[in-house]
Amino acid sequence: MFKNLTSKKNKITIIGCGRSGTNLAIKLYDSGNDVTVIDKNEKAFKRLTSSFGGITIEGDATNIEVLKYANIDKNSTVVIVTDRDNINIMIAQLIREFFKVTNVIIRLYDNELATICDTLNIKIVCPTILVSQEIEKRFLIGDMYE
């Protein structure tokens, strides 16, 4: 996915401007994409570097009006990384339902909630699983065969 997004200009909306959101916003902007960041707390945008030239919107993304204001359309890529799983799922579903966006990616800490997203074609990244996989891969597998 990342390769795709770096090759040509894409319209990307990031919801939640925490550590992950900020990092991603800066990277994607630097590689030449149209980036919009939404967060309900204006202070969150302080994390963005001064070179970030994308759009920032202060607003609650569970509100449909805010999503409309962010100009999301079906060709957008939407990344949802607020700190609450339940909110991420609801926003993802709202976006699928109202804007017919095909490329929706969300972060879910609790992988068990993934069941809900299956039928709706929402892409899930689960940090909990990634961390355990990484630990296993880097530090444990070798030991097991010694």
Binding site: N63, I64, N86, Q93, E97, L113
Partner: protein
């Protein structure tokens, strides 16, 4: 066999609803994430109360969600209610889910996500207040189909604009249909020539947002 109901969240609402359901012989389980609320709820010995976050699958499993006939989500955040109902449907295969909702704009969305009954607490409440406020003008007001269709019951007095007028003279256009007139306990199906008298009760059907228009045309 007694029907089983699981109620999640909602302090007082949960208590009142649970007590009413217990009287109707339902088996009621309540999940609440606040310790104090759980203490308050467990004063009733017939209730099973579980302390936990009902949006977590393992909590729902502990509450035996898979055995429930109905799951009712009463938390104060819309996203939590949505997750509770979706988990109940998709993971625990509960037949019937009910959710309250505070953002009226999401009613259709909630239905589309597979929730069986959505109750918008704010709009229900404002409807009731509006009904009370208009009480001298309208006797009763009902809305159906997600608040799209409005049924009004209107009592006519001598001072009203429509008093002694024919229905065809009322200029109601096609916006409003007078379905029937209740006159001295008889039900009358009106046509354009029907004259409206004092103490008639008119039952009208229209779009829900036409209430003001109807009052203006009938009462002046």
């Amino acid at each position: 066999m007694n029907k089983k109901v699981l109620i999640i969240g909602g302090r007082r609402k949960a208590k009142v609803l649970a007590e009413s359901l217990l009287k109707k012989d339902y088996l009621v389980t309540i999940v609440n994430k606040k310790y104090e609320d759980c203490l308050m709820l467990s004063e009733n010995e017939k209730l099973s109360v579980i302390l936990g976050d009902g949006t977590k699958p393992y909590v729902l499993e502990e509450a035996k969600a898979q055995e429930m006939n109905i799951v009712i989500a009463l938390t104060s955040s819309d996203e939590d209610n949505l997750i509770i109902c979706e988990l109940s449907k998709k993971k625990f295969f509960v037949k019937k889910t009910v959710s309250i909702l505070s953002d009226l704009n999401k009613t259709e969305f909630f239905y589309n996500m597979g929730i069986d009954h959505v109750v918008c607490a704010t709009s229900e409440l404002t409807n009731i207040i509006e009904k009370e406020a208009l009480l001298d003008r309208i006797t009763n007001k009902i809305t159906l189909l997600n608040n799209d269709v409005g049924i009004n019951e209107i009592l006519i007095t001598k001072e009203d604009l429509s008093y002694l007028k024919k229905i065809s003279e009322l200029d109601l256009l096609k916006e409003v249909i007078i379905v029937c007139i209740i006159r001295e306990n008889n039900i009358l199906i009106p046509n354009g020539n029907t004259v409206i008298y004092e103490n008639d009760i008119l039952i009208t059907v229209s779009k829900a947002n036409k209430t003001e228009f109807i009052i203006k045309k009938l009462k002046g």
